[in-house]
Symmetry: C2
Subunit: 218 residues, 2 copies
Amino acid sequence: MEFSSFFPVWNRLTVQQQAVLSGNVFSRKVNKGDVIHNGDADCTGLLLVRSGQLRAFILSEDGREITIYRLFERDLCLFSASCMMRSIQFEVTIEAEKDTELWVIPAETYKQLMDESAPLANFTNEVMATRFSEVMWLVEQIMWKSFDKRLAAFLLEEASIEGTNELKTTHEIIGNHMGNPREVVTRMLRYFQNEGMVKLSRGTIEITDQKKLEELSE
Amino acid sequence: MEFSSFFPVWNRLTVQQQAVLSGNVFSRKVNKGDVIHNGDADCTGLLLVRSGQLRAFILSEDGREITIYRLFERDLCLFSASCMMRSIQFEVTIEAEKDTELWVIPAETYKQLMDESAPLANFTNEVMATRFSEVMWLVEQIMWKSFDKRLAAFLLEEASIEGTNELKTTHEIIGNHMGNPREVVTRMLRYFQNEGMVKLSRGTIEITDQKKLEELSE
């Protein structure tokens, strides 16, 4: 598949703009676990996911993490090019959750095109609004929902992403997604196990009663 | 002051676009306490603050509130026109914190202009990025900061906005800003009072040791 068929507003750019974009975009392969973008340390450029999966998270001073959104095939990451917009005053870290192929659009190229193209600027608005909505959902979760409901929803989402009820993950990884210490995750998972909702073994969490987990998460 | 001198990218619009904007914008006065926009119940339009102060907050199902940002003179509120962008999938409520004069730009008018004007679309991007940054700051606060630090920072911010160390507010109002029950606010304020940082009386919180409060908030 070509870049042009992946880039959402390609057909709304002029031939000249398409040439600028084609001439500057490059592809990149990253391995599961690679950190692609690291806060304001670099202005990596915009990332368009061709295949694979990325996660964006924020870090506390003492090294705690919380996932703010995930990026799947065809998703575009703006915040790895935050140097492009002076009003973006926060830092995210982007990490590959799976082996991932992506296109990188240099920030200057994108900025130059966006400045002159209303379709591209409006598309960028929609992308930002989508991420904004995800973060607002997160705020509502952490403000209004108890940890048991959040963890149940997280396990169900993971199962849906992976297409399996047998999740290969650790309590620490879950803690890093949710912004909670590992011990808190372990304690709640043991409670879930006692209630028959999951079965725990080394490196695996198996969902054994999806319905009950769904009821809890609502 | 005229609308044109308040609207940031006025000079980058065409004469025709300026005419469309002028022909559709209208001014409105609201009183302290008025709810101007109520989630998805209405598509109020974009609000440009001429004078006064607004706050945007989200509501939980059981009526708890948390302030997500404030709007002051010359600030533009996009999310009161969320019908304009399909990717905005969250609801905010906008309330006047002071008697406020504002201009309302109908959502259809703004959308029509933004679709054709790259400068306006890019300006909108910057406004959204600014609000996004405020919400990311909020996420970091509620995830990584203890409530005493958050409350200290909140009192200092209020004192800075109001230009006085004698804050006319209630524990309930503070709870609604911070997403915490009133009792939690009261307990912490009493602790602050015991530590000599504030003096509490009916309807007033006086900051008596700003330096100590600042040290706590950092």
